[in-house]
């Protein structure tokens, strides 16, 4: 189908203002929060699930790729239309359809902004737990696609633990609910496999999500350390002693310096690392828990421990953490954020290795991350104008991922694979592992029109993976059993 015809057909479905096709306007949709850039052929802005069905049918008829998009804040290239085609931006489907406090759930359209849901429910004593750093901009639909996390996922789990059911347009064009209204649905857990599938298995048109009662009480503690090793040992010790805080966040020296310079929060210039720990729950017991945590901090060499006395003080401590990314501009014009995960006890060794990578590649690396989950976010600082900087940064990034793998961890904790890390999938998964994932994908998306070129390494195509494996397996079996 010619591009002009595709545009015309989409305009029939969506009306003239529901289709973006002029080159200057398309430029906005060619990137997300990662490095890769590619222009879609056309952007569709549906307002109703039925329109999404029509768009998917059209994509099938025209055999063009179809790429869902939320707010475009993703950090792995998941929303980039690598092969062109129709990008379906879900931002106009942004209504909160039902807030059912009695059953502790909300029905939302995918374009609802993450923070808006919590803002709407807070006055009633409820909130939506997953709180990615981009929560002021990112959409629930995007969170579902990426299985997003955030600081408060330590005790409460990530997006997948808060999604109860999805209305989704399958690649076949069929519109189905994967579950609901009850929690249990017979059959394979389609909700569970669609969450985190990065737009390759369907387009979510409604999400039924869990609302959580606000805790009765909250305590926040900020501990300063001489270095990240002491702070990481503290993290392991807290978990090891049977305390799972609501959040446990770390900032290293570089980050603390930048935050102090930018916002004057009172960090001494030589502070080596800061841990921000939050516990919540019943009033009784919280003081005891925070006292135990404070003692663990001191036992692991904390030079100061401060417990926020008021809500304002709590907010001030959290602000220092939330402003960290903004403060990075003080250190360098650009940064590249990695997203690796390691078992919590491996944090000290991993951070030591990150420091070596920093020296080897002559790049400054700042660390601000979800320490309680073992989810690292090394920020590799650079200046695009420097000769070869981007390439060096990417190589250092891969080296850090390899370190995470060597430590028994993995290559993405909450940002997704997308385009950015698909080649590294081969570092953690065998051809057989990937073939099983390919079978899952093909069960939903046999024509590979939904967000193609994502997640799977490109060097070996899925079909090749399958064939190679089957041949070798067959030969091995025959040899083994003497046929």
């Amino acid at each position: 189908m010619e591009r002009a015809q595709l545009v015309a057909r989409l305009q029939q479905i969506l009306g003239p203002d529901g289709v973006v096709h002029r080159p200057d306007e398309l430029a906005i949709y060619e990137y997300d929060g990662a490095f890769d850039v590619h222009e879609p052929s056309v952007v569709a802005l549906p307002t109703r699930p039925e329109q999404v069905v029509e768009i998917v049918r059209l994509a099938n008829e025209a055999a063009v790729p179809i790429v869902p998009r939320g707010a475009g804040t993703g950090l792995s290239g998941g929303a980039v239309a690598k092969r062109g085609g129709i990008q379906v931006a879900m931002t106009r489907m942004n209504r909160i359809l039902d807030l059912d406090y009695r059953n502790r759930r909300a029905l939302v359209e995918p374009g609802v902004i993450n923070l808006d849901l919590s803002t709407a429910t807070m006055p009633h004593g409820y909130y939506y737990v997953p709180d990615p750093s981009s929560q002021k901009a990112c959409t629930i639909g995007g969170n579902v696609a990426e299985n997003s996390g955030g600081p408060h996922c330590l005790a409460y789990g990530v997006t997948t633990n808060h999604v109860l059911a999805l209305e989704v347009v399958l690649p076949s064009g069929e519109l189905i609910w994967t579950g609901g209204p009850g929690l249990d649905t017979a059959g394979y857990d389609l909700t569970g496999v669609i969450v985190g599938s990065e737009g390759t298995l369907g387009i979510v048109t409604k999400a039924l999500v869990r609302l959580t009662r606000q805790p009765e009480a909250v305590r926040v503690l900020l501990a300063q350390f001489d270095g990240v090793v002491d702070a990481s040992n503290t993290v392991s010790a807290v978990i090891g002693q049977g305390i799972v805080p609501a959040a446990m966040e770390m900032m290293d020296q570089l980050v603390c310096q930048a935050v102090e310079e930018a916002y004057h929060v009172g960090f001494p210039p030589d502070v080596g690392a800061v841990l921000l720990i939050e516990v919540d729950g019943l009033g009784e017991g919280l003081d005891q828990a925070i006292e135990r945590i404070a003692a663990i901090c001191r036992g692991n060499g904390a030079r100061s421990v401060r417990v926020a006395a008021t809500a304002e003080e709590r907010a001030a401590l959290w602000n220092a953490r939330k402003m960290a990314f903004g403060a990075m501009g003080r250190l360098a014009p650009s940064y590249y954020m990695q997203d690796g995960v390691v078992p919590r006890t491996k944090l000290p060794a991993t951070l030591a290795r990150v420091e070596e990578v920093s020296r080897d590649y002559d790049l400054r690396i700042a660390n601000v991350f979800h320490a309680g989950d073992g989810n690292l976010h090394p920020l590799i600082l650079f200046d695009r104008r420097d000769q070869g900087a981007v390439e060096r940064v990417l190589r250092a990034g891969v080296e850090i991922l390899q370190t995470c793998i060597d430590m028994g961890g993995t290559i993405s904790g909450e940002h997704g694979i997308g385009l950015e890390k698909k080649e590294q999938m081969a570092l953690i998964f065998t051809a057989d592992d990937l073939a099983a994932m390919a079978r899952l994908k093909a069960s939903f998306n046999p024509r590979d029109l939904f967000n193609p070129d994502k997640i799977f390494p490109s060097r070996v195509s899925c079909a090749e993976v399958r064939e190679v494996r089957q041949d070798s397996r067959h030969a091995a079996l025959l040899a083994e059993h003497g046929h």
């Binding site: 789990g157 189905i176 599938s197 006890t345 079978r439 059993h481």
Partner: protein, 455 residues
């Protein structure tokens, strides 16, 4: 024909001996322990490693032999009778804890480890897998996850899908694959764990599981309130769930279940009901919460309230879990599970009792009020004809499915399964589910016919 079939069994047996060793393949009377519905598998193999499981699956696949994956056998009542049962694959020799670092709060374990054995390992480090298991000594972790069983504490801690962070599975083509990993946060590739949880061994055989663990709470407290009616108990439950108290479980029991567990206080009267709330955590918090519930008794118009001593509380919760065990199947009885909106519980529990009464079924039920789950036992007297019971169960389940959709018969006599809509309303995604089955198990050898849509 018979000799041909016998010849095929003998050939497969010989190949299996080659793959898992002569000591671990049986075709003798020991097969009798692996009966599923009315079928006894012709062969049993007990592989000793993940690789041997994969090899056995590949051989069965080549032979077109139907495989029944077998853990502790305590949930074998679940699902339709298999279309065939040629080979039972006993996974209990996969009994190793592979990796356990307490300070990471994660663990990797082979699928054949029993829940009780794992719990003993974890208890030594003050940790646990926060999952309710009705038959801890028998149930294996692989089986528990494949059947996706859970109890009332799911309200606070979630179900297997919320705890499984990594998986290794054996496939009919002989491959072994991993998904996830040993970290608590992971978006690298598809969430294969979700695919296998609750899939009843119809897609692959789980051989290893990695779990996110939880600290074992230092204390717990249970409050029991008696009410004059189910509605009053359910209203109190809703009020409790809307508060900022943090129960790990809130259940509402009808008078029969409450009496059976010894918690229906006489003051409640014959049509009474009971509410039980379980709190886990620091002693100072659990005590306050259990007390707070009792203090609200008057406001909630409860007839009576009390806090259970620890041993009585443990016996009560164990008894309640036993109520939902699938392997307790007296003659002419069945266990069902409904999943509805918590606010619909009053209507549904009343409706269930009404429909059961109409078709002459004795009915006992309790609700996991926090999650909107009802467990229901129905039965007829021993001397009632099995066909009469089967008809009554069919009539009940058909009506429950018509009204509320998500009703599953977890356990019932094999003869009653024939035309029963056992899994409830057909899920909207059945087409995709069939695709998954066709691609993961193209030969259709894994638990054929037992699952949703007779997959």
């Amino acid at each position: 024909m018979a000799t041909e079939a016998q010849g095929a069994v003998a050939a497969l047996q010989q190949q299996l001996v080659g793959a898992v060793g002569a000591d671990w393949v049986y075709a003798d009377e020991r097969r009798g322990a692996y009966r599923v519905d009315d079928l006894t598998p012709g062969l049993v193999a007990a592989p000793g490693s993940a690789e041997e499981v994969a090899a056995a699956l590949a051989l069965a696949n080549e032979a077109g032999a139907a495989v029944i994956p077998w853990g502790g056998g305590s949930a074998m009542a679940l699902g339709y009778p298999p279309r065939a049962a040629d080979l039972a694959l006993d996974l209990r020799r996969l009994s190793q804890v592979l990796a356990y670092e307490p300070a990471d709060l994660t663990l990797s374990v082979q699928a054949g480890v029993s829940f009780a054995a794992l719990d003993a390992v974890l208890a030594a480090h003050g940790q646990r897998l926060a999952l309710d298991c009705p038959r801890p000594s028998a149930a294996t972790l692989g089986g528990l996850v494949a059947a996706n069983l859970a109890g009332p504490r799911r309200y606070r801690y979630g179900t297997a899908r919320d705890m499984l962070i990594g998986v290794r599975a054996a496939h009919p083509d002989g491959s072994l694959t991993r998904g996830g990993g040993m970290v608590v946060k992971n978006v690298s590739g598809y969430d294969m764990m979700k695919l296998y949880v609750g899939s009843l061994g119809t897609l692959a055989v789980i051989v290893e599981l990695n779990f996110k663990l939880a600290p074992r709470p230092p204390a717990e407290g249970t409050a029991v309130l008696a009410f004059a009616s189910l509605d009053a108990a359910l209203a109190a439950a809703e009020s409790l769930l809307a508060s900022q108290l943090l129960p790990s479980a809130v259940v509402v029991l009808d008078s029969a279940v409450a009496s059976g567990l010894g918690v229906l206080l006489p003051a409640a009267g014959p049509a009474g009901a009971a509410l039980a709330a379980r709190f886990e955590g620091l002693a100072v918090a659990t005590e306050r919460q259990a007390r707070a519930v009792c203090e609200r008794a008057v406001a909630w118009s409860a007839a009576e309230a009390r806090m259970l001593p620890d041993d009585a509380a443990a016996a009560f919760w164990d008894g309640l879990l036993a109520f939902q065990a699938l392997d307790v199947a007296p003659h002419n009885s069945a266990l069902l599970k409904l999943s509805v909106l918590p606010t619909d519980l009053p209507v549904v529990m009343a409706g269930v009792a009404e429909v059961a009464g109409q078709v002459d079924l004795r009915c006992l039920q309790f609700a996991d009020a926090g999650s909107g789950i009802i467990y229901l036992r129905v039965g007829q007297p021993e001397d009632s004809l099995p066909a009469v019971f089967a008809w009554a169960l069919w009539a009940l389940q058909t009506e429950l499915v018509r009204r509320w959709g998500q009703s599953v018969v977890l356990s019932c006599p094999s003869v009653a399964k024939e035309n029963l809509p056992l899994w409830g309303r057909e899920p909207a995604g059945l087409v995709v589910m069939r695709e998954l089955k066709a691609r993961f198990d193209p030969g259709g050898i894994l638990n054929p016919g037992r699952y949703v849509g007779r997959i």
